[in-house]
Symmetry: C2
Subunit: 474 residues, 2 copies
């Protein structure tokens, strides 16, 4: 966008054809067509860098990033080299973290520093923060003192905090300025920053006291003072706030940008909504991966990292499966007398596990979106138990009658029905209570809930079914 501003005629109307051609490189879901990707890869392979560049040059940086992600990892460096300066700072900032790390490893520190200089602080930090200590230092050493200071101070904030997300380029004015003065000031200092959506009004101590949308400035007389135009009710983001919390504020209050303040309340930066969209997507998607223990769960993650993240979880799952297995062991005598029980018992455990997952998914989502507080916890638990009783009753009736008929054994039908009802109600209770308890304890409910819930539904499923069968004298 910066380019479009400084040189608005960059895209000539004559290039419309090229743009249309690029448009035809996308399928209906806005993904690059395989044929297009292959054409670029073939051109690079044939050593025809110019042809590759001709194909790629009409693309948006976000699409060039997609192209590199779709390129097999062992050919990415070649493709990036052939595309030359088409792979610019904006492309890097759009790239998947793993793919970017790959590419950056192949660059010299001066090149990375060059890229970082072209970006807003937040995007530059995103690129540099994942680098190894030594590489990071080399890049910082190659930067201008001013840029370096900005990046270093951002890196001083915790990962995933507002301080890392914010950009320092913003427009702040004193409240006595009039609309006309602000417009004149902006016109004289157009090089400050060009991507901003709101102006912050600050007091002499540089503390934000109001926010003003650009549209208000454009629709009001020049004589109005900022103090009379600005909205005083603002959402200030503490610089150390976690990015997930920042995203929830943006969503709740429908923010486009927000002022970031330090511990003393001074304005130190601004976060804009375009950076928040990524975070909302990531955070909401993370829960699904965490619930299954899939770690970062990115298809670009190195195999060995995926292995390490997942196997840890599978080994934990192995331990909890042993608990359920031990419970079965208690009833070996019963199973020996009636081996059909072994055939039926996984049904009770499995359907219970599914019922637990349902309640758990609902609870984890509600917690992630701040929908559950102490005010409605009790109500939510009661609600889930009511749903569980209805579900349990229905499933129990179906399986009970089915087993009774197929095995010609009404008692066996009654036993499996009672066990199923017990397990689904237990699952409902565990599905809501486990995430709530973890959340109260300050743990992430998405990470550990399913270990506990699965252990509970497996164990209860086997215990209730085999225990009731034993009691019934089978």
């Amino acid at each position: 966008m910066e380019a479009a501003m400084s040189d608005p005629g960059a895209i000539d109307p004559l290039d419309a054809e090229l743009l249309a051609a690029a448009e035809s490189q996308h399928d209906e879901d806005d993904r690059l067509k395989p044929g297009f990707v292959t054409a670029v890869l073939d051109a690079v392979e044939a050593g025809d860098a110019e042809a590759a560049r001709d194909l790629v040059s009409p693309l948006h940086p976000a699409d060039i990033a997609d192209l590199l992600e779709l390129t097999p990892s062992d050919r990415r460096a070649d493709v990036a080299a052939a595309l030359g300066d088409l792979v610019g700072a904006e492309v890097l900032s759009e790239l998947n973290d793993y793919v970017r790390d790959d590419l950056i490893d192949a660059l010299r520190p001066e090149q990375v520093a060059e890229f970082a200089r072209e970006l807003d602080t937040d995007d530059a930090v995103a690129i540099i923060e994942d680098m190894e200590e030594a590489d990071q230092q080399a890049v910082l050493d190659a930067m201008d003192p001013e840029d370096r200071a900005a990046i270093e101070s951002a890196l001083a904030y915790p990962e995933e905090s507002a301080g890392r997300l914010m950009q320092r380029d913003l427009v702040a004015v004193p409240e006595h300025m009039t609309v006309g003065q602000v417009i004149d000031y902006l016109r004289d200092h157009g090089d400050l920053t060009s991507d901003f959506w709101e102006i912050f009004v600050v007091d002499p101590a540089h503390k934000p006291i109001g926010t003003c949308q650009l549209s208000w400035i454009l629709t009001c007389p020049r004589s109005i003072a900022m103090a009379d135009l600005m909205k005083r009710e603002q959402t200030l983001i503490p610089v150390d706030m976690d990015q997930e919390e920042v995203a929830l504020r943006f969503q709740k209050y429908a923010l486009i940008s927000a002022a970031v303040v330090d511990a003393s309340g001074r304005l130190v930066g601004m976060i804009t909504v375009d950076d928040i969209l990524h975070i909302v997507q990531e955070e909401a998607g993370e829960d699904i991966l965490r619930l299954s223990g899939a770690g970062d769960g990115d298809i670009n993650e190195p195999v060995i990292d995926s292995y390490k993240a997942r196997v840890r979880w599978l080994l934990t799952n192995l331990v909890t499966a042993l608990v359920a297995s031990t419970i079965i062991g208690i009833f070996e005598g019963t199973i020996e007398r009636m081996v059909a029980l072994a055939t039926l018992m996984p049904i009770v455990a499995g359907v219970g596990g599914n019922a637990g997952s349902q309640t758990m998914a609902v609870t984890v989502r509600a917690l992630a979106t701040n929908q559950i507080t102490a005010s409605n916890t009790r109500r939510t638990i009661i609600r889930e138990i009511r749903v569980a009783v209805l579900n349990g009753g229905t499933v129990a009736a179906v399986i009970g009658m089915g087993v009774g008929l197929v095995f010609g054994n009404a008692q066996l039908g009654a036993v499996i029905a009672a066990a199923m009802l017990t397990n689904i109600v237990t699952a409902g209770l565990a599905g809501v209570a486990v995430p709530l308890t973890l959340d109260r304890m300050g743990a992430d409910p998405a990470v550990a809930s399913s270990i506990f819930v699965t252990m509970i539904t497996d164990s209860m499923g086997f215990f209730a079914f085999l225990g009731l069968a034993t009691l019934a004298g089978m």
Copy 2:
């Protein structure tokens, strides 16, 4: 925000204390404190509507919406009545769908029409679209012809399409206008709309040919023509595009607003990013609920609706569990000879199921974010199989040695290890292949994947373990 513009002095500095008081009603996660909610409920119960209003009036509409959501459903109508006009159109548009439906049922059509009139088209449509046909008609009848026409034409678009999301109030100018002329035009027509972030440049046929950020207008000389300032490369949203696709475009191209065009390419509306944040959150969260079959999975959903959504899934799960059960039935003779097999078999099925969930979660997320295309499908499958082989090898070694030692039976250890490796690799393959196949067939991979994957991992777990044990002559 509208209020702040037409009456910028509405919030007096003296009210700062009240604002600070409201601030203290929030916990560190920006949720309303239980004590505050109780205080409001108590005031309403005691018939002191004024005290309730004093407590609530400093709150942001989004917080008033939260308050109503935290109120038990049987008391919501009383609380809303006591709060009177504090529960305005903005509060309604922020409310959870289920809670809003509850409240709106208690309102007369004229009141709903009044609320709808105060809102942008998109928010008004969001309120009206969920109403029953007859109520909807009554509300529309009570509206001004102009508002009614706007809402009716929005309702004519499919649910969850761009046409429902867009607002009609936008600023579009011809390309020959200069920056100065645009500013003068806006100042003379300040009543058009006050919440916009970009200006669309249109040709004489009202087709968008460029977009211009307000910040560019404010930082450029008055004499510059819009044609020279605008960015020609724009992301146009077809009016019938699905909202999930719209959200992906906003995210990919970091958009703040986008022009919506009809089939003939004419500008018919604008979508702003604040409405997209909700959708990104919803869509990303939906997958987690769908994977577990929890339906809409909202804690405010009526119990009977949750029951219907979930029991359907549990009954399906019952059928797939029967498949696994039938496989165990084949090997009843083997189990009778060695009942320890019944104790151990759920471990193989359970850990395999977990491995399948991991791969499935990763694949579903990658599909939802358009990360997988025909260009990298094969690579992704191979990647997942490699992870599965590593995971399977590790878990198989651990369980194999453990069982061998505990049971003092090396053959049993070898059997369970081989079965575990087989099942985890099968799980990896199923976890990536099932969602990909469903996606290719045009089905939502999040909805049905886990039914198939669980069936495969359960069946393969029992089959591999009991089958190998039988082959080994146990």
